[in-house]
């Protein structure tokens, strides 16, 4: 078993995460994090968002670099298509959260991953955001994620990885349960 443990490497430092879990169990205040982004309108439906700082563990932190994200709408919406649409960012958020979770849980369960590929589809009825039918919601009426995973594990163990990742995913939680959103103007 020891030999096996040494050879499993999905590139996730599970020991550090287990340490953090233990530390944050006894220090609930340090577990309070805040994630932030800024967004600036560029013209038309094009905006540029940046992500840099966040807080947690009782301190301020910065990403190694500032990450920038152009968002726009495609030409079929008579936009200039400078970037992904905001709803596509939501899909990216979900599937990257689940995929990171799968790698972490696989490392913890000593499962070597060889490849993990997901496709995510969000279905939407435009009659909602265009105000054509007030009974149609603005957002997705459903999201479907499909994983193809190659790993040293049984089919059930792979399914269990994907199920556990959903159970522990922040974005999955935000999309499946309501979140209070407050928007103010200064």
């Amino acid at each position: 078993m020891t030999e096996l443990e040494n050879t499993i490497d999905n590139g996730v430092n599970v020991d550090a995460l287990i340490g953090a879990r233990a530390a944050l169990t006894d220090a609930p205040d340090a577990a309070q994090f805040q994630w932030r982004a800024t967004c600036e309108w560029k013209g038309g439906t094009h905006s540029l968002s940046t992500v840099h700082g966040f807080s947690g563990l009782g301190d301020e932190h910065q990403h190694k670099t500032t990450f920038c994200f152009d968002a726009d709408h495609p030409e079929v919406f008579a936009s200039e298509d400078h970037g992904a649409t905001p709803v596509e960012f939501v899909l990216v958020g979900l599937v990257s959260c689940l995929t990171g979770g799968i790698a972490t849980i696989a490392q913890y369960r000593k499962i070597q991953l060889r490849s993990v590929i997901a496709t995510v589809e969000g279905n939407m009825n435009l009659q909602g955001i265009l105000g054509i039918d007030s009974k149609v919601r603005n957002g997705f009426n459903g999201i479907k994620v499909t994983y193809k995973i190659d790993a040293d594990a049984s089919e059930d163990d792979i399914r269990a990885l994907v199920a556990q990742s959903q159970k522990r995913s922040a974005v999955y939680d935000m999309l499946t349960s309501p979140t209070n959103v407050t928007v103010i103007v200064e």
């Binding site: 009426n141 459903g142 199920a163 159970k167 349960s177 309501p178």
Partner: protein, 410 residues
């Protein structure tokens, strides 16, 4: 002021098992009981309740099942009678109708104040039960006043309920049993399903509880599991004890017309909000059940018992609608009752000893509380997976009474 060596609070099966072990250790004690023996069973359980474990699986210290139906499941009156007989058989020193108002540290132990006077003692056993207060989410207050709410402690039978739809929240043993009973009474049930633990009543010809016992899972120790905090919070198996040993699960409920919906997460302007995570809740439970069945299969193979039992098989996966509903409008009157089968927690409002963590739970190591001379009994996975069962109190009581004996000798 009266004095004794040890006071046991609560004369349910856990308190009585401890009393028997204390008697065996010649530790002078008294068992204080707010009502009669088995008070919670008499006053806070529904009429049709049967135990989830078979009759034989109730091995208390110096007592066990003696009837001719070892594989049956006790009814509520039979359970009360069983515990009553145990109390009288072991001649437990129970003082009934005595309510404990407070427990405090004193110079040589503890001061226990009751409505029948005060006691001074060296040690105290908390056996007042794991299920005193219902776990109801705060947003329950936002339900429209036209909706009546109940808990399994106040529910008795479907006739209590108005005609019309019922939302049962929670799909552990209690939730699915009551969903079935209420739905069969002609009140259409919607079942809100969170994390749950699926298990067949019978596998390969034997009761699932027989397998848990034989394979050793019931005896798994609290300090040997990966995450004891999580293990102590796992919902009870979806089981029911009926004469024909039927399996009750989400598929059987769906077949009879019970609607399934995800976890109840909030109420906004009279509209209940339910999480879109039902598929994953069911996947997790199916996968977990199959891991259990695989462990049983492995044990059978290891012990070369294949010829003695039925062949290995798997149960159909839980059927889930492709798009389960995400809301219920409580203002339409279609659903006029909500039954919170969302679990219980103990009430320690009378325990004035600094032993609580930041979540209000008692700090303890397998029932040895973080205050010398104070012990805990009858809680989920206290020392073993079976700790909260009738069958689990004995081993815990034996070990904790031995610990107490050496503590008292110091």
């Amino acid at each position: 002021m009266q004095t004794t060596t040890t006071i046991v609070i609560g004369a349910g099966h856990a308190g009585l098992a401890m009393s028997k072990c204390l008697t065996d250790c010649s530790i002078e004690h008294i068992v204080l009981e707010r009502g009669k023996v088995a008070h919670t069973w008499r006053t806070e359980r529904w009429d049709s309740l049967t135990l989830l474990t078979p009759n034989w699986q109730s091995r208390l210290p110096g007592y066990g099942y003696q009837g001719d139906d070892p594989d049956g499941y006790r009814s509520l009156p039979e359970t009360i009678a069983f515990i009553e007989r145990y109390a009288s058989l072991i001649a437990a020193p129970v003082q009934t109708h005595t309510n404990v108002n407070s427990v405090k540290k004193s110079e040589h132990g503890y001061l226990v104040s009751t409505d029948k006077g005060d006691w001074q003692c060296r040690s105290v056993v908390l056996a007042s039960g794991a299920c005193n207060l219902p776990n109801i989410p705060k947003f329950a207050d936002d339900l429209p006043s036209t909706v009546r709410t109940l808990t399994p402690a106040t529910y008795r039978n479907p006739e209590q309920l108005k005609k019309g739809g019922v939302l049962v929240v929670g799909a552990a043993a209690t939730g699915i049993q009551l969903a079935q009973e209420i739905h069969l009474s002609g009140r259409p049930v919607t079942l809100s399903i969170g994390e749950h633990t699926r298990a067949p009543r019978v596998y390969r010809g034997r009761d699932i509880q027989w397998w848990l016992d034989a394979v050793g899972l019931h005896d798994e120790r609290y300090n040997k599991v990966d995450d004891i905090v999580r293990a102590r919070g796992v919902p009870s198996f979806q089981l029911i004890g009926t004469p024909d040993r039927e399996t009750i699960d989400l598929n059987s409920l769906r077949k009879m017309g019970v609607k399934h919906i995800g976890p109840f997460v909030g109420i906004n302007n009279g509209i209940g909000q339910f999480a879109g995570s039902l598929h994953n809740k069911c996947d997790l439970a199916d996968l977990k059940m199959n891991r259990l069945l695989k462990a049983i299969d492995a044990w059978i193979a290891e012990n070369h018992l294949e010829d003695d039992v039925e062949p290995s098989h798997r149960f159909p996966p839980t059927e889930v609608d492709s798009s389960p509903p995400l809301s219920i409008d409580f203002q339409t009157g279609e659903i006029n009752t909500v039954l919170w089968a969302t679990g219980f927690r103990p009430d320690y409002s009378w325990l004035h000893v600094p032993v609580f963590n930041h979540k209000g739970q008692i700090r303890h190591d397998g029932g040895i509380v973080d205050s010398p001379g104070l012990y805990l009994m009858g809680m989920q996975f206290l020392r073993r997976r079976k700790s909260a069962l009738l069958d689990g109190a004995g081993d815990d009581a034996r070990e904790l009474s031995e610990h107490m004996l050496s503590y008292l000798a110091d």
